[in-house]
């Protein structure tokens, strides 16, 4: 078996999720190659070549891959596919975007967001916002899959070093064009890889009062999350949404404040190691999964908590 993993990166740093996908690939077993497509990739190939389990790094360093446009990525990956039995990438916003295009170009059924590898052709994934888990068996000649990275431990540094091979870019797909990108203020901790997440819900009452969550997060060095209700109410931007339609997180500590615990929110955080819930409604569903619940007024509790930490 031979597995191609498409790396997630920002042209400078390899995302942790890639190492988690490599570890999922190791569970399938076989030769693992890592594709880096971007520009300019500088030292990224060198960094990636020390990943445990990876035998070869393929580097497509070309301006047409700089912004990870799905049309170009898909053509590149599809052109490499014939020698592989599995093609994997992280279920992040890039992977979800381009991989179905690869699958369609190759006429292969894709398996989205696997959470467990049972055998080289059998996998588990969640459906219905995490309320059910399905086991699928693929009879496709190539298994094309996105991986829910938090379900797998990251691969470490290997003793050896993978070989590095440059590959040439394909002719560019010309009907789409990158215009601009805007990063959400990044003096913050990245949500998906955070060790501690503090999330606020509709209980915060307003955008101004959501600052309380930010203060607590700052004190703990935590990432900030929000429920869909808080996002819908306009307290925070959508990229902070934790839940099936937002981000899926599994930190060591998740603190849910003023969040009732709708199913779709729970789907995004129920794999956290320790869950704390602070809510004035003692019957809120969030308490049924929280390790430590505190019933009361968050506007009294949270400042007190910040004080005591």
């Amino acid at each position: 078996m031979s597995i191609l993993v498409i790396a997630s990166h920002d042209n400078k740093v390899l995302a942790k999720s890639t190492l988690q996908v490599v570890s999922a690939a190791s569970l399938i077993g076989g030769d693992i190659h890592l594709l880096l497509a971007g520009s300019p990739l500088a030292s990224l190939a060198e960094e990636a070549s020390h990943s445990e389990g990876v035998s070869k790094i393929l580097v497509a360093d070309d301006a047409i891959y700089q912004h990870q446009l799905p049309e170009n990525l898909a053509l590149l990956v599809a052109s490499l596919a014939s020698t592989y039995t599995h093609i994997l990438t992280a279920a992040d916003s890039v992977g979800k975007d381009f991989l179905p295009r690869v699958a369609a170009l190759l006429d292969v059924t894709q398996i989205s967001e696997i959470i467990e590898v049972l055998s080289p052709d059998s996998f588990k994934r969640t459906i219905y916002a995490g309320n059910a888990i399905e086991t699928v068996v693929s009879q496709e000649p190539i298994k094309i899959m996105t991986v829910r990275s938090i379900a797998f431990a990251a691969a470490g540094k290997g003793a050896g070093k993978a070989s590095i091979e440059a590959i040439s870019a394909l002719p560019a797909f010309t009907q789409s064009e990158f215009i601009s990108s805007e990063a959400v203020s990044r003096d913050r901790v990245e949500l998906t890889g955070a060790n501690i997440v503090v999330s606020g819900g509709r209980g915060l009452g307003s955008k101004e009062q959501f600052v309380l969550i930010e203060k607590l997060a700052k004190k703990l060095g935590a990432a900030i999350g929000a429920s869909r209700a808080a996002v819908d109410a306009g307290y925070v931007a959508n990229d902070m949404q934790v839940g099936q339609t937002g981000k899926i997180v599994a930190p060591s500590l998740y603190i849910a404040i003023g969040i009732s615990g709708a199913i779709q929110h729970l789907a995004g955080m129920k794999d956290s190691k320790v869950i704390v819930a602070i809510n004035k409604d003692e019957n809120a569903p969030i308490f049924s999964i929280a390790d430590y619940g505190l019933v009361g007024d968050l506007f009294q509790i949270v400042p007190e908590l910040i004080e005591m930490l």
């Binding site: 975007d97 059924t109 086991t135």
Partner: protein
């Protein structure tokens, strides 16, 4: 400009689903079904483009059994001009859905195809991208803002850590994220009016698409339940537990 909006009938997002005891799937009989919420956002966007006189016609299309007609009527009541029903009784993977939709797109020749980023039943997040690839169209997934400028679509996409704006030459496929708009409610007069709008039927089995699945779902189970813990009496106890019992801070 013509817009095609593929929509899917799913278990209503407010329903707490039940996994069948025999592991065969999720209970979908006798539960409330509705249009996939992300598809509803897609349709709303298409209707708004028509109201701005950028689009001239909005056509919705679904794949499903006879019962799927109900969401087409909902879509027509929201403001779609006409509907296409690809009749097929069993579940099909996104790849097959995309192939059937490609047949419709080749007949209808839309300038823009807008659909939801994912259906809330299988959470696959594939159909729009696959349809774009099969048609050779550019794509913009997870749209939070869409503007049609001359012969192109300028789309702001929600991505990890921020936003990206891309410009697509039409025809193109756009998939919607939550932030794009808030779908309207249908009014009674519009529901009445929708009854006379046309629905064209196709039989999936007669569309020259191989519908043999190469992916078998062998088991559907409930996720492991997380047990609730304890209630603490005050902040001091909480901090103590987190420091000394859970050791997470």
């Amino acid at each position: 400009m013509k817009i095609l909006v593929p929509v899917k009938r799913v278990v209503d997002y407010n329903v707490r689903i039940t996994v069948q005891a025999d592991g065969s799937g999720v209970q979908t009989q006798n539960v409330k079904m509705s249009m996939n919420p992300f598809d509803e956002i897609a349709l709303e966007e298409a209707i708004r483009l028509k109201e701005k006189q950028i689009a001239t016609e909005v056509v919705i299309v679904t794949i499903g059994g006879e019962v799927a007609q109900d969401i087409l009527r909902t879509g027509l009541a929201m403001g779609a001009d006409r509907a296409i029903h690809i009749v097929h009784d069993s579940e099909i993977p996104p790849l097959h859905a995309a192939k059937l939709l490609k047949v419709i797109a080749e007949t209808e020749k839309p300038h823009l195809i807008i659909t939801g980023k994912q259906a809330i039943d299988d959470d696959a997040n594939q159909t729009g991208q696959m349809l774009a690839a099969l048609l050779g169209f550019p794509q913009a997934t997870f749209a939070s803002h869409l503007e049609v400028v001359e012969n192109s679509a300028v789309v702001t996409r929600e991505v990890d850590g921020g936003h990206v704006t891309v410009k697509l030459a039409l025809p193109a496929v756009v998939t919607t994220d939550l932030r794009l708009n808030e779908p309207r409610f249908t009014s009674l007069p519009n529901i009445m009016k929708a009854r006379t709008k046309p629905i064209t039927k196709y039989l999936a089995s007669e569309m020259n698409v191989d519908l043999t699945s190469r992916l078998k779902i062998v088991k559907v189970e409930e996720p492991k339940k997380r047990k609730g813990g304890i209630k603490v009496k005050d902040v001091a106890e909480l901090v103590d537990k987190l420091r000394n019992e859970a050791k997470v801070i």
